[in-house]
């Protein structure tokens, strides 16, 4: 009996191995796309669609390898020689890092529509059931009785936007007064009870472990947590502040790698495909905001109205923002260094 069982198991394993190796032979040149950490489900949905689309248009079989990690980590890997064809990140800074090192053309933001950002989001708040602390806007987040959770801005892209959201709001409120803005953002930072290193850690701390009154992250994440099955029982509510920050999700072809591998055409097509109506509609089911003209009504139904400020319009280009705010000893470090 056992013998039969083992034999059957071995045969099944063999069959699986053969099955796995057939498409491996058929593929010509796998495309490697590097994404931010929490993009798993999204790209698991996009990639097979593109593979089918590419097959229909060119008759070629394509395999897409997908890598997920914090985008700074991804950029480090690419600098150190990982052969990534395309990057789909959640912030421009880490693409600029690659551009500065000559791996990507300097004007990469002009290579694709909308600042090379097929979709965008903003920073929204997730609050506890019934919004017991009546949180409506950024002003509520600096109150003494409100505790916040978001990841460390040094190690997480979405937390940089959270920081910038608070900064841009305060900057408008105080009409550009630097001292008052700093005071506001300093208070905001000191209301944080927990700085996990990544978005997932922050979600667990807030939704599962009951830390803080507000979780700040991308609207797409916030809506996903509130509406997804995992935390549905918590009854969390989404609050989109009337003014927030525009968070673009930029894409780029890694020029140096695609020229070396000869994959420029397919890499470009892959990124352009993200602008197609099909994928743009798909993106809205992941609670991202999109610009496709056909989908304006879907957008209006799904998302709260908010005025989104573009960080680069107010604070200058990304490398300047990076230098002033996020570099070692920058404004963020200075504000955190002020003891409570």
């Amino acid at each position: 009996m056992l013998k039969k069982f083992i034999l059957a198991g071995a045969l099944a394993a063999l069959a699986l191995l053969t099955a796995a190796s057939i498409p491996a032979q058929a593929q010509e040149k796998p495309l490697l796309n590097a994404s931010y950490d929490v993009a798993r489900e999204l790209f698991a949905a996009i990639n097979p669609r593109f593979v089918a689309d590419w097959k229909a248009k060119t008759g070629q079989d394509l395999k897409i390898d997908q890598s997920f990690a914090g985008t700074s980590r991804q950029a480090q890997d690419i600098i150190q020689g990982k052969k990534v064809d395309t990057v789909t990140f959640n912030q421009a800074t880490d693409i600029n890092v690659l551009a500065q090192r000559g791996l990507i053309r300097a004007d990469w933001q002009k290579a694709f529509p909308n600042n090379a950002s097929p979709y965008y989001s903003t920073i929204a708040f997730l609050v506890r059931k019934g919004n017991p602390k009546h949180i409506k806007n950024w002003d509520d987040l600096v109150r003494d009785d409100v505790k916040l959770v978001f990841p460390n801005p040094k190690t997480s892209g979405n937390a940089r936007y959270t920081y910038l959201g608070a900064w841009l709001y305060a900057n408008e409120k105080f009409k550009g007064d630097d001292a008052q803005t700093k005071q506001f953002v300093g208070k905001f930072l000191h209301n944080v009870v927990n700085f996990p290193t990544g978005g997932r850690g922050a979600t667990v701390a807030f939704a599962q472990n009951g830390q803080g009154d507000v979780l700040l992250t991308f609207e797409s994440e916030v809506m996903g947590i509130a509406k997804g099955d995992e935390f549905k029982a918590g009854g969390f509510e989404v609050v989109v502040p009337p003014v927030s920050v525009l968070a673009e999700f930029p894409v780029a072809v890694v020029d140096k790698v695609v020229d070396e591998k000869g994959t420029r055409k397919v890499a470009t097509a892959y990124l352009n495909y993200e602008y197609s109506r099909e994928i743009q509609l798909l993106l809205t089911t992941y609670y991202f905001r999109v610009n496709h003209p056909d989908l304006a009504k879907v957008m209006a139904d799904r998302y709260a109205k908010a005025r989104l400020i573009e960080p680069t319009k107010v604070l200058g280009p990304w490398d300047k923002i990076e230098q002033t705010h996020f570099a070692s000893g920058g404004v963020l470090d200075q504000l955190l260094a002020v003891r409570k």
Binding site: A75, T155, N194, Q211, L336, A337, R339
Partner: protein, 276 residues
């Protein structure tokens, strides 16, 4: 000049091959990455190096890490000793299970341990609820950090102490008893001196492990600057800033501290051995 050792033909066969392989392995896996670290540091000027390692937040992280490791080592040495004692001195049902459980921290990814511990010690958690009325915050605070360090360093105490305890024959204790020693005297003057080298080895390994622990600690510590930010996290943050030299500089401090500590312990141990 080749030392005379290498010119003699050893009695046991296979020395050449096994020595060569070991040295190759150590060079590739330990020394090469280390020299990479030093390479980054060597490109810095002394002023840059000092700036990187003396940043106020980094200095605070040294203090936090050292203090956390110290508390955890003291606690875990005590608990680990008790564990080793019951495992090797008594035969009770479940002894083998406990013996196996001691190694769990080796097997479990430390980040998983950190997440699990943080869920246990939140104010509404299974264990945290008992501390909440006392006003003690464990998860996402300093005590949580210490607990995570204790978890990951426990086997380092138990494993070196256990064989020594097993080797100490009960005849020695019986002889002491016959010669009129009290129970506590037997413990202090007969057992402890024999155990001290193993305990010191264990404690030092536990301490060094705690200094370098990353995964478990960052999941539970809360990572608030100047309060619960450990040195490994500062290294990680510098890497995220693409400031590799600064990251390497801070890492070199941790490394130097660990090496000095190991060296001191070696000295201390030799003294103990000489006394015996």
């Amino acid at each position: 000049m080749i030392p005379s050792f290498f010119r003699r033909t050893p009695v046991l066969p296979g020395f050449g091959a096994s020595f060569g392989l070991s040295v190759l392995f150590i060079s590739l896996v330990t020394l090469l990455p280390l020299s990479g670290l030093l390479l980054y540091v060597s490109n810095m000027t002394w002023a840059q190096y000092w700036l990187a390692i003396s940043d106020a937040r980094v200095v605070e992280s040294y203090k936090i890490t050292l203090l956390g490791a110290l508390y955890s080592t003291i606690a875990v040495t005590f608990i680990g000793f008790l564990l080793a004692w019951i495992i090797s001195r008594y035969d009770f049902p479940g002894r083998r299970l406990i013996d196996a459980l001691v190694d769990l921290p080796f097997a479990l990814p430390t980040a998983v341990a950190g997440i699990t511990l943080s869920a246990l010690f939140i104010p509404t958690g299974w264990l945290g609820q008992w501390f909440e009325p006392l006003g003690i915050k464990i998860s996402y605070a300093f005590p949580g950090m210490v607990i995570a360090m204790m978890f990951t360093s426990l086997p380092f105490i138990v494993r070196p102490v256990q064989p020594v305890l097993e080797d100490l024959e009960s005849e020695i204790e019986e002889a002491a008893l016959m010669l009129g020693a009290h129970k506590w005297q037997i413990f202090w003057r007969v057992l402890l001196p024999a155990l001290a080298p193993a305990l010191i080895t264990g404690a030092s390994q536990a301490f060094i492990r705690s200094l370098g622990e990353f995964g478990a600690v960052i999941m539970i510590a809360g990572n608030i600057p100047f309060e619960t930010e450990i040195t490994s996290l500062m290294i990680f943050i510098r890497m995220q800033e693409f400031n590799y030299p600064a990251a390497a500089a801070i890492a070199s401090v941790v490394l130097a501290a660990s090496l000095i500590l190991l060296f001191l312990l070696q000295l201390l141990q030799n003294r103990f051995l000489n006394k015996l």
